[in-house]
């Protein structure tokens, strides 16, 4: 799953905390960024890295919303349904999006292009109703029509493998600032 460089980087990152488990989320993110979700093999790998048991890792994954144990579509669209977006019509946006994919929220669309999830407030209240595409790209002022257009575009998009492993993770620690940046 990981190259030797990436593994070395993860070990380095874990060792910069007083306890290795503080880096568990970081490692779980690394697995997820690499293959889209956290599979059994990934869990076993993080077990070895952190010294945590499989159960302890499952405990974290089931708690933290952004970590997932199941595969998702090629894109993940989190549509906010908290109050500021709600008053601006996010319910209609979610309904239109769900209808367009032909599957329930949280499942992979029939074309495989997207998984849609309702989300808590994304801090994009001034762009309501808003969404976050693939954890980073902000989608503003959605309407039932514009979300369907966006989903059409995602359907057309060829699959692009995003950057892998440590390169896509934002968290740091001084040890990482000097290490592992140029791999």
């Amino acid at each position: 799953m990981f190259t030797e460089d990436e593994l070395e980087h993860l070990r380095e990152h874990l060792s910069h905390y007083p306890e290795r488990r503080a880096g568990a989320i970081y490692c779980l993110y690394a697995v997820q960024d690499k293959i889209g979700y956290i599979d059994d093999k990934g869990i076993m790998m993080v077990t070895e890295l952190t010294g945590l048991s499989k159960t302890q890792l499952e405990e974290l994954i089931t708690f933290f919303t952004l970590l997932r144990r199941r595969p998702v579509g090629r894109n993940v669209l989190r549509i906010c349904d908290s109050i500021s977006c709600h008053v601006m019509g996010s319910r209609q946006v979610l309904e239109a999006a769900e209808a367009h994919t032909g599957v329930a929220l949280g499942e992979i669309s029939r074309t495989g292009s997207v998984t849609i999830l309702p989300s808590i407030c994304l801090g994009l209240c001034n762009h309501a109703p808003a969404a976050l595409l693939n954890d980073e790209d902000e989608v503003s002022r959605l309407t039932p029509e514009s979300v369907q257009k966006l989903l059409d575009e995602l359907d057309q998009q060829p699959f692009q493998q995003s950057a892998t492993g440590s390169q896509v993770i934002a968290t740091s620690g001084h040890s990482m600032l000097t290490e592992g940046r140029d791999h």
Binding site: I25, L66, I83, V87, A170
Partner: protein
């Protein structure tokens, strides 16, 4: 009032050279090297309060650190901003990350901290990446690391990306999340300032609070006081969302009235919409009504009508949405985000939501109004942390202020407004 935290927003995010050229990091020259007691005193004089919503005096919190506190001492910058309707810390992170670093360095110096963690919610991943780049730049330019500005004092900043969950913003839950545990709150005492991260003295502050610190220390408490109006000190990044013409964020004197913020800064209501109420500072604040628009939004303003400033993220409610549907949506958020650790919160909040939905769907009876009120009273004082009490603030006040609507919903067997489900 001059723009302080938002001074670089239109140009940002600035890289190190551009930030420095715009007088960035200049405050540190008058902070680092000065006696820490003097600095803490200056901060105390300024009356700076925690901008995350609690409004606790920052200098007082810091003064609880024991004089002989064992090292390492940690500063944790809380950027787990997930309060619905709040997006002020996000602006600093995305538009001017060096301002956050400047604040973190200054605050860490005063606290004699050895390491600062900036804890960022997972949904702000892009911002965390920007911040990490800025941290690296600061490091390369000698502002982080050992012996900063020849003071003999050193600091490392660690950008920590979290993975979701509103409860991580509660300071002790945050510490658990950072340590790699589920983000359940810890019991207090011991407070984090005595035993926090890995049992060491730890000070947790909101990102906006921290960003204010170096400017207060460099320019003086009086200057900071002069930035506020209507009896308040300093500036605040207010936020407005909902059915207004220009929703957004506005750095204004602390103490600005809701009328000025909603109707002038945010352009007023959308055509055809009428203001029916607002939450002054995020989802866990009490309802204020149109007749409260002229109350200054500072720490002591909203309490005069039973509300509180919170984060200053104003959520506008208009006549196109039923207040009960509004409350039900708030409860959807809180039931989903409850960490599940204690029963009144885990089981009580879904019950509150269920009751509110009964009114919307038309199956409620008069008895449900009593049950709703009683339930809020039972949950409020019996939870482990401040999450459920916060969640109930808009509900208890909403039930009180819109009680006639509850009776109407019973009579009409449900909601008669189009926008309700």
């Amino acid at each position: 009032m001059e723009k302080i935290l938002s001074r670089n927003f239109s140009a940002g995010p600035l890289d190190f050279a551009a930030y420095k050229a715009a007088d960035g990091y200049k405050t540190l020259e008058s902070v680092i090297g000065r006696p820490r007691g003097d600095l803490l005193n200056e901060l105390k004089q300024s009356g700076l309060k925690g901008c995350g919503g609690a409004g606790f005096l920052t200098a007082l919190k810091w003064s609880f650190k024991a004089p002989d506190a064992p090292h390492p001492i940690y500063l944790v910058v809380n950027l787990d901003e997930a309060e619905p309707g709040s997006f002020k810390d996000r602006q600093v992170l995305y538009r001017d990350p060096h301002t956050l670093i400047e604040g973190t360095i200054a605050a860490s110096y005063v606290l004699n901290a050895d390491k600062a963690f900036i804890f960022i919610r997972g949904e702000y991943r892009k911002g965390a990446r920007l911040l990490e780049k800025a941290v690296q730049e600061a490091h390369n330019n000698g502002l982080l690391g050992q012996n900063i500005m020849n003071s003999g004092w050193g600091l490392e900043i660690d950008v920590h990306l979290s993975a979701g969950r509103y409860i991580c913003g509660e300071e002790t839950a945050l510490l658990n999340a950072l340590e790699g545990y589920r983000a359940n709150p810890r019991s207090k005492p011991p407070f984090p300032v005595a035993k926090g991260l890995w049992g060491q003295p730890t000070i947790v502050n909101n990102a906006e609070t921290i960003s204010h610190v170096p400017f207060i220390l460099a320019r003086g408490a009086q200057w900071f006081k002069d930035q506020g109006i209507n009896g308040a000190f300093g500036s605040h990044i207010y936020q407005v969302s909902g059915a207004v013409k220009s929703p957004g964020f506005f750095e204004l004197p602390l103490g600005t009235t809701a009328r000025e913020i909603i109707f002038n800064q945010a352009g007023g209501m959308l055509p055809g919409r009428k203001l029916t109420g607002f939450l002054p500072g995020g989802a866990s604040t009490q309802f204020m009504l149109p007749e409260h628009l002229d109350i200054p939004l500072h720490w002591d303003g909203p309490p005069t009508v039973g509300s509180r400033l919170g984060t200053g993220g104003i959520i506008v409610m208009d006549d196109h949405i039923c207040p009960i549907d509004f409350m039900s949506n708030l409860m959807l958020f809180f039931t989903r985000e409850s960490c599940g650790y204690c029963t009144p919160c885990r089981d009580g909040l879904p019950y509150v939501k269920h009751l509110l939905d009964k009114f919307e769907q038309g199956s409620a009876t008069e008895k449900d109004i009593d049950t709703l009120k009683e339930l809020c009273e039972v949950i409020y004082p019996n939870t482990f942390c401040a999450f459920a009490p916060g969640a109930l603030m808009p509900i208890t006040t909403g039930v009180e202020k819109f009680e006639s609507l509850l009776h109407e919903h019973i009579k009409n067997k449900g909601c008669t407004m189009k926008r309700c489900a």
